[in-house]
């Protein structure tokens, strides 16, 4: 896939990856062997019929290919860009055993973008209205998917979103240079065109309660409120000025457009030497955003090694090209402040990886040495946990871990009429797994309302535990 020149792109927020040209797409599609038993499909959490959609591309019927994908995946322009393909579909492609796997994600993105160049998307068939109302809380990928699938079945669906814009993490978390906002807008518009209503500024549990929604005639409720609450390490200095939690840093830029301050009212502090703690997608996004705000030096500080980094492979490559420096086996122990309470340095332990334990996992351990990085900003990106507001307001809802909802694989919670999916049930995961959960929940909500299942569910087992 083509990428913009690192030296140029690191100064602006325009998309880094340019996608495939038509010629490249044709060539890439031609590489697919059209396997009878396609491994790639088993690597995709929503089991997109990959060989089939690629066969349309081979025939240059791009819209046909897109239609095929949409049967499984509502948001192809987004998934093509942000799925960790190397561990999902492409990680299983048979060609990958010997050489390069088929670039499935890039093809997916290509057909979705192609549609945008030829005009309005073709609407799928929508059943006539069946008169049943369903409420969806949260407009992230899980919520949008449930809403779209139920709307297609004829349900009257309303999505309630706490923030002033729809999209969840896609809107406030993932930066423009990786996922342009106009693409999220396009996908949200598509969902709306199916008849779904999206009400922003509605904090469910506060602006309206769950009881009121049921009393108002909603037959079922889907909870897709995500895991957006930032975790922190609890080390000294974490509340100094110029220590950001990644969620705040990214929200200021992505949702509030702080990089355009003062044209937009929300500011963000620009720094010259930045340490980002963590090595997931959130850390990569923060590091590359800091570069784009003008930082001269950006470090990724991670306590394990390159091999264990959980972020999407392509973004690590992009970050390296743009000049982000990686400090592996480094564990922060204190953020040091100056006399005014502003960050001036980050003290870290040097780590070593131990031999694998019984479970086969290798753990980092202090080597006894330490070092100090001179920085004027620290961004903590060590993970997120469940969003508390709605959960705290529902009595009797069964939870696990740090406040995640217990649901079975079809999204049923222990309470009748209440379904859940996405990060709020699994802990921070991926866009496509949230969508997959949304798809399954839509099916079981339909079964529930149509009386095809018992009304009081058995207490489900957690879908996933960590």
């Amino acid at each position: 896939m083509r990428h913009r020149d690192p030296l140029k792109r690191k100064n602006d927020f325009k998309e880094v990856s340019l996608g495939l040209t038509e010629k490249q797409a044709d060539k890439e599609a031609a590489r697919c062997l059209q396997c009878k038993k396609p491994h790639c499909v088993s690597g995709c959490p929503v089991e997109v019929d990959i060989p089939k959609f690629i066969s349309f591309v081979k025939e240059k019927d791009y819209l046909g290919g897109l239609k095929k994908i949409r049967e499984y995946n509502m948001l192809p322009a987004i998934c093509g860009r942000v799925c960790p393909q190397e561990t999902q579909c492409q990680g299983y492609c048979i060609l990958g055993k010997k050489k390069r796997p088929v670039s499935i994600g890039a093809l997916e993105r290509f057909v979705a973008d192609y549609e945008a160049t030829v005009g309005r998307p073709e609407l799928p068939e929508v059943n006539p209205p069946n008169g049943h109302k369903v409420a969806v809380v949260g407009s992230g990928p899980a919520g949008l998917t449930v809403a779209a699938d139920l709307a297609k079945l004829g349900y009257d669906v309303t999505v309630f979103e706490a923030l002033h814009e729809a999209g969840g993490v896609l809107t406030y978390g993932i930066p423009e240079f990786r996922l342009p906002k106009k693409i999220i807008q396009r996908e949200a518009d598509f969902v709306k065109s199916l008849g779904v209503k999206i009400l922003v500024n509605h904090v469910i549990g506060r602006t309206l309660t769950v009881e009121e929604l049921f009393a108002d005639g909603f037959r079922a409720l889907f909870i897709g409120v995500g895991a957006g609450s930032p975790k922190y390490m609890g080390i000294p200095g974490e509340n100094l000025n110029n220590v950001y939690f990644a969620s705040e840093f990214l929200t200021r830029v992505n949702l509030m457009k702080a990089h355009k301050f003062p044209a937009y009212d929300t500011p963000v502090k620009k720094a010259s030497q930045v340490a980002v703690v963590g090595a997931g997608n959130v850390a990569m996004d923060s590091a590359r955003t800091a570069l784009r705000l003008g930082a001269k030096k950006v470090y990724i500080v991670y306590r394990r090694t390159e091999r264990e980094m959980p972020s999407r492979h392509e973004e690590v490559e992009n970050a390296k090209e743009e000049g982000v420096e990686f400090m592996f086996l480094s564990n922060p122990k204190e953020i040091v402040g100056d006399e005014n309470g502003y960050v001036k340095a980050l003290r870290c332990d040097k780590m070593v990886m131990c031999e694998p334990d019984e479970s086969g996992r290798r753990k980092p351990e202090c080597s006894g040495e330490e070092f100090t990085l001179d920085v004027d900003q620290v961004i903590m990106a060590i993970g997120q946990t469940s969003n508390p507001i709605l959960i705290r307001s529902i009595l009797g809802l069964k939870l696990w871990g740090e406040g995640y909802i217990v649901s079975d694989k079809d999204g049923r919670t222990n309470l009748p009429g209440m379904f859940a999916g996405g990060d709020i049930t699994t802990g921070a995961a991926t866009v496509i797994s949230a969508m997959g959960a949304g798809k399954r929940a839509a099916r079981s909500i339909d079964d529930y309302i149509m009386g095809r299942t018992e009304t009081t569910p058995k207490t489900p087992e957690p879908a996933l535990t960590s």
Binding site: A162, N201, T207, P230, Y232, G234, N239, T251, M256, K269
Partner: protein
């Protein structure tokens, strides 16, 4: 969109605004706040819900025009609308029958004590309210409070109304006079800290409402974090009210000053642009 129904100036630099927001009005409790954004390019700022009319579906906000957003809000008129308002947010003030409650308000903070006073009265508490300001005309809602509280003690720095001096002096006398079961203080950080220092030796339960910088107000960013009893807490979902004796006021003050330069820049730019607009109109 949230239509503005009414706007009045109640003190120099302080406006009262009534806004149509039926769902928020229906659910607001004493101590709750909203986060609002005036327009597409605006910042999200928190403001306490100072009063509600559930029947009419309206909320009343009081704000001090100290920066870009509050100055711009003050220039909006009935008939115009605010683009986004989310709420009610934050824990409501815990209301039970405490006995004798003393409410201490400094500046604009005073007015936001109004729903708290109302709720405490409804729960059959004896109430004293101490209102503090620099000078008489900066005292807000004096009459509204006077009508409701059992005892009302205005104080001004210059003695132009009520007793001359700081709210802490009035509070000290109240504490010496008789038993006090609860103190709630809202206002500038230094005032809240002074109140906290005063009640600590008497072991009087004291609640303060903190005002850190916020972004979304729903627990998802951590901008509003404060240190309470040595632990990090998010004011928007764990507060904004906390046990005064546990609050790290110094940290709060430092964190609040973090964007000072940007705040000044935004305000100057706004005022300059406005001026140009006005001159070109005439």
């Amino acid at each position: 969109m949230f239509p503005i129904l009414n706007k009045t100036k109640i003190a120099p630099l302080v406006d009262e605004m009534t806004i149509k927001a039926p769902n928020i009005a229906a659910h607001a409790k004493a101590g709750n706040f909203v986060v609002l954004r005036i327009h597409e390019k605006g910042e999200r700022i928190p403001l306490t819900i100072a009063d509600t009319d559930k029947q009419a579906g309206t909320i009343t906000l009081l704000f001090q025009k100290i920066g870009k957003t509050t100055v711009e809000l003050g220039r909006m008129e009935p008939g115009e609308s605010i683009r986004d308002i989310a709420g009610p947010l934050g824990h409501p003030t815990p209301i039970t029958q405490y006995g004798h409650c003393v409410l201490v308000g400094g500046g604009i903070g005073s007015a936001t004590l109004y729903p708290v006073l109302k709720a405490l009265k409804d729960a059959e508490n004896k109430t004293t309210i101490i209102l503090g300001a620099r000078t008489k005309e900066l005292l807000v809602w004096e009459d509204k409070f006077g009508a409701l509280a059992d005892e009302m003690l205005p104080t001004t720095d210059d003695g132009s109304s009520g007793r001359k001096g700081l709210v802490t002096e009035a509070l000290k006398e109240v504490i010496e006079k008789g038993p006090v079961d609860l103190v709630i203080a809202v206002g500038p950080i230094r005032m809240m800290k002074a109140v906290s220092d005063l009640t600590r030796p008497h072991a009087i339960k004291t609640i303060v409402s903190l005002n850190p910088v916020m972004v979304e107000g729903t627990g998802m960013c951590g901008a509003c974090r404060v240190t309470i009893g040595g632990k990090t807490r998010f004011a928007c979902v764990d507060g904004p009210e906390f046990d005064a004796h546990e609050v790290d006021f110094q940290e709060l003050e430092r964190r609040l000053s973090f964007y000072k330069n940007e705040e000044q820049q935004a305000l100057h730019l706004f005022l300059r642009r406005r001026k140009r607009k006005v001159t070109s109109n005439t």
